[in-house]
């Protein structure tokens, strides 16, 4: 099963670390990085297809278009059938992510830094979800 992995993160170090981690966790699929939500949503508006599965790692605090705004846009585009969003947060301080919790597209919250261990969990979550979708 192949996925398209979108990294939406303004911090180049996190992007760097995430790319490394994805490689290690053996998550198959093309990885594309975006510096903010706007670039990502522009890409999706152009390229989105129901036939593809999307794994999105989303940072919340970003310039131009932040994570919350991105989620609002994404909801009108993608469905839970083929899209999972993992929200990246730099702390366990969750007040600012409360309103994201209820969104069905959001698969989980991940506290930075993303370790290999966390990514393996994410991988299982992804495979479980999409393979289940496939059989039903």
């Amino acid at each position: 099963m192949n996925y398209e992995i979108l990294l939406i993160e303004d911090d180049p170090i996190f992007t760097f670390l995430l790319e490394k981690g994805i490689k290690h966790a053996d998550l198959k699929g093309d990885t594309i990085s975006f510096l903010n939500g706007k670039l990502a949503i522009e890409y999706l508006n152009k390229e989105y297809s129901d036939q593809k599965n999307y794994i999105i790692f989303l940072d919340l605090n970003m310039p131009v278009m932040n994570g919350w705004e991105f989620m609002d846009e994404l909801e009108s585009l993608a469905s839970t059938d083929n899209c999972m969003v993992f929200v990246l947060t730099s702390s366990a301080y969750r007040d600012d992510i409360e309103k994201l919790k209820k969104k069905p597209l959001v698969a989980d919250f991940v506290t930075k830094p993303i370790t290999e261990y966390l990514l393996k969990g994410i991988k299982e979550n992804i495979e479980g979800n999409f393979e289940q979708n496939q059989t039903t």
Binding site: F14, L17, K20, S91, Y93, K112, P113, T115, E116
Partner: protein, 884 residues
């Protein structure tokens, strides 16, 4: 008899047989008349034939008409008088003929001479005659000539008749030949002839068709050709049969074989043949015969065989027994199952023709079967059910044997067919069903509750006898009616709702509604219903709820009474013996002192009394021995938790009452009352303190907020005396920033009884602001007050603290945010980078490692900056003085 000869049927028939009457003239007869006229030298000669109505001239020489009525006939006298020859010399002088038109008028006949035309069987048909208008005589030669010619005419008639017959026969033959052809072609039979001397074959059209040959190919069709087309499996037989047939002195022979057709398929041919001619040496010369296409018949019989085989297979594969016997009870045939059983019983199966009675079975069994067979023979077809107890295996099997008679073609009985079927499972399941049904019926019949089924449209399908008792209608009256018709009007909607939830799969129990009894009364019903999706029916049990309703009502009443009297009351009713031991305690004890009646049993009441009250209570109680009732003033009684509760008690002597035999104590908990009293006293005391020394101020203002009263505490709190307040307006003292809010709140109280005003700033007598929390109550209608009561409290310190806390919280939130977003980010980065280094050190390329190190340095710098910021933020974070 004169004239009788004319109509003699024999004569007429003979005449008709020559088929000459009314026929056209023919040259040969005309030649005869001409010859006769010439011989007799007369102008006229006729061949006259007489039937029963007229005379007809087959030839008329000398006159031009060919018939006359009988009344004008000379010739008939030959017949009537049975004469061979008849001569009239002068008709004009003869009374018999003088009136004839031919005599009287033209041509004026005078002379007549006729010779009889006599058929070989002796019948006179008419005459050959000559006529003349002169009186004449004939000489012997002439007469002989006339007679000879008359004979010749009859010969001609004979000849004519023979010719006609021949023709008819020929036509008939042709017709018959055609018919035969038709028949032959209709039967599809081909005819062949084989010339053995020349080895050639002739075939009829039909035969050519059957062999699918044409005439040309037949020209050189030798016997070997014929053999070559016969199916190889059939050829030996054909050759043998042919050989037999050609060996003197054979009779006819027949054979069936497959013959190759033009299209490559084979036809089944049935051939019959016979040698027609033998040579003197007894060698066959010619043979002929027929062939028939029997392909269809053959395949039909193959099909028949196949069906029979299938039937046999079926008959033999069943475990049921089938056999047939003849009139002497000898086996005709039986299926495998029968043979197997017999073999099991006696070691060998019956052979066909053997008697069907085994020595291995008890005599009475044989007798029984014999009687069955006899019964079938006497009365025809019947079936009998047998119960077979197997003593070894302790089980019972059931069989159904059917006997029927067998007939031959003539309809005579020739035997009995028997069929024994194992019906154990049918019988057993039937029994179970019957038992279940009986049980069900018993339940239905004896049930006092209504048991019924209702279809999806609400019509009763079944109902038991209980309906008569409960609803007044017998089952007969109810079945087919809609249950809704019986439901009490007010309950129809709830009933419908309940029914629809039942039909959606819910099981409803204890649904209550009301039905209308036949006599008009309302019957409360209690229903349990279940919907059977498969059958499409509701199964319902309904109970007459009248008694329960009544008792519910009673229970409700008594419960209410009980509750009022016992449970809800704070009175405990107890019965003690004279020693003070509990014999009974009312349930209210649970509520009042948290002890259940059981906990008191076997205990002494005085153990629960407060030591300070014990002597007094004991003394009072002892009085009861001599008094009907005694009242015990307030005393303390210990409850479950060891707390002391205040009680008063009324003691009543019921020692002599047989149903009680004790002292009845009615104790009332007066604890709350006592406490309330004490609380009142305390609160009064508190109020005094509050009003005089407390931090609360109480003022009364009018609807425009002008003070009419202020409590003395104002002096202390606001440094403004009550006297100074009275007559001034309250809003004068309110901080301008809070004015609007306070005003909004104040005018509310004109409409509602009480308003809480949140803290606002009020000017202290010495000029600074203090925070007041205020409750204002509308007492404008209260005559003793006639104003708005203002209750205010100085909350300055509290407000200051609150403000400080809010400020501090804001700071903390900022720190927390910073921590999470500014500090955590670089820390997280560092952690990630370090992880990467640790885990992947070897795998990283040099420039990557360089890059990571740069990232680490940057992140560390960032943290440094952040921490500096935090420190600055927190140093001045909390300073209450700033806020006030």
């Amino acid at each position: 008899m004169k004239g009788g000869n004319i109509i003699d049927t024999n004569r007429l028939e003979t005449l008709m047989s020559f088929d000459v009457m009314d026929t056209d003239p023919e040259a040969i007869y005309d030649e005869i008349t001409s010859l006769a006229a010439s011989i007799c030298d007369t102008p006229t000669s006729l061949i006259s034939l007489i039937d029963d109505k007229k005379q007809f001239f087959k030839s008329h020489h000398g006159i031009d008409y060919n018939e006359t009525p009988l009344s004008e006939s000379f010739c008939k006298y030959l017949i009537e008088d049975d004469l061979d020859l008849f001569i009239v010399e002068n008709a004009q002088n003869d009374n018999r003929f003088a009136h004839f038109s031919v005599v009287k008028n033209d041509p004026g006949i005078k002379f007549y001479a006729g010779a009889s035309l006599t058929s070989p069987n002796g019948n006179r048909l008419g005459s050959l005659c000559v006529l003349d208008n002169k009186v004449r005589e004939l000489d012997d030669t002439q007469i002989k000539g006339l007679k000879t010619l008359a004979k010749q005419v009859v010969h001609l008639f004979e000849l004519r008749k023979a010719k006609k017959l021949e023709l008819e026969q020929k036509i008939d033959l042709e017709r018959k030949g055609k018919l035969l052809d038709n028949i032959v072609s209709a039967t599809g039979i081909g005819i062949w002839e084989r010339d053995l001397a020349n080895d050639s074959l002739t075939l009829s059209e039909q035969g050519l068709e059957i062999f699918s040959l044409d005439k040309d190919s037949l020209k050189d069709f030798k016997t070997d050709h014929w053999f070559s087309r016969i199916h190889k499996d059939d050829l030996p037989l054909v050759k043998k049969k042919m050989h037999d047939c050609l060996t003197y002195p054979s009779v006819s022979c027949n054979v069936q074989y497959r013959f190759l057709q033009k299209d490559g398929s084979y036809k089944w041919i049935y051939e019959e043949g016979k040698v027609l001619k033998w040579s003197p040496k007894k060698e066959p010369l010619l043979m002929y015969g027929t062939i028939q296409d029997v392909t269809e018949k053959k395949s039909f019989s193959t099909e028949l065989q196949r069906i029979k085989n299938n039937q046999d297979a079926m008959i033999n594969s069943t475990r049921d027994l089938m056999w047939s016997i003849d009139l002497n009870f000898n086996l005709i045939t039986a299926n495998t199952a029968f043979h197997d059983l017999v073999e099991k019983i006696q070691g060998t199966p019956f052979k066909e023709g053997d008697p069907v009675f085994s020595d291995e079975v008890p005599l009475q069994v044989t007798k029984k079967w014999k009687s069955y067979y006899q019964r079938a023979l006497d009365n025809g077809r019947f079936s009998v059910k047998q119960k077979i107890q197997n003593p070894k295996k302790f089980w019972t099997t059931y069989g159904l044997t059917s006997f029927d008679l067998m007939y031959n073609k003539e309809g005579e009985t020739i035997g009995i067919t028997c069929f024994l079927k194992d019906i154990t499972s049918e019988v057993l399941s039937q029994q179970v069903l019957i038992n279940a049904k009986e049980e069900m019926q018993k339940i239905m019949d004896t049930s006092l509750d209504i048991i019924c089924t209702i279809d999806e449209d609400g019509y009763f399908l079944t109902v038991n006898q209980a309906s008569k008792e409960i609803w007044g209608y017998s089952p007969k009256e109810i079945i087919g009616t809609n249950y809704m018709d019986l439901v009490y009007e007010e309950d129809k909607i709830v009933t419908e709702k309940s029914a629809s939830s039942v039909s959606s799969g819910e099981k409803i129990v204890n649904f209550e509604n009301r039905y209308i009894h036949k006599n008009g009364h309302v019957v409360p019903m209690l229903w349990s219903s279940n919907w059977d999706e498969k059958e499409g029916v509701f199964y319902c049990i309904a109970r007459d709820n009248t008694e329960k309703k009544k008792s519910d009502l009673k229970l409700e009443n008594s419960e209410r009474r009980f509750k009022t009297l016992v449970q809800e009351s704070s009175d405990i009713i107890s019965i003690l013996d004279i020693e003070g031991n509990f014999k009974y305690v009312s349930p209210s004890s649970t509520k009042v002192i948290h002890m259940s009646p059981e906990e008191f049993m076997g205990k002494n009441a005085f153990d629960f009394i407060h030591p300070d009250d014990l002597d007094r209570v004991k003394a009072k109680f002892d009085l009861i021995a001599n008094h009907v009732s005694v009242i015990i003033e307030s005393f303390r009684f210990r409850n479950k938790f060891g707390e002391w509760r205040w009680f008063i008690a009324n003691v009543s002597n019921q020692l002599e009452e047989p149903s009680i035999q004790g002292v009845v104590i009615t104790s009332r908990d007066i604890h709350e009352t006592r406490n309330a009293k004490e609380q009142l006293i305390q609160s009064e005391r508190r109020y005094k303190t509050l009003v005089q020394e407390g931090s609360d101020m109480i003022c009364i203002v009018d609807e425009k907020a002008n003070f009419s009263y202020a409590s003395p505490t104002t002096s202390k709190i606001l440094n403004i005396t009550p006297e100074e307040f009275v007559g001034t307006n309250a809003f004068v003292h309110v901080h301008k920033d809070d004015y609007d809010m306070v005003y909004e709140e104040f005018i509310k109280v004109l409409k509602i009884p009480q308003v809480n005003i949140k803290p606002f700033r009020f000017r202290h007598g010495s000029g600074h602001w203090i925070w007041l929390e205020t409750i204002i109550t509308n007492k404008l209608e209260e005559p003793t007050i006639n104003g708005i009561v203002v209750n205010a409290k100085d909350v300055t310190i509290k407000v200051q603290h609150l403000k400080a806390i809010e400020e501090q919280n804001a700071q903390l939130r900022k720190i927390a945010w910073t921590q999470s977003h500014i500090v955590r980010a670089p820390v997280a980065r560092l952690m990630g980078l370090v992880d990467l280094l640790r885990d992947d050190n070897e795998k990283l390329k040099a420039e990557e490692r360089e890059q990571i190190l740069n990232f680490i340095v940057n992140s560390a710098d960032e943290i440094d900056h952040v921490i500096k910021d935090i420190v600055e933020n927190t140093i001045n974070a909390i300073d209450i003085d700033d806020i006030i």
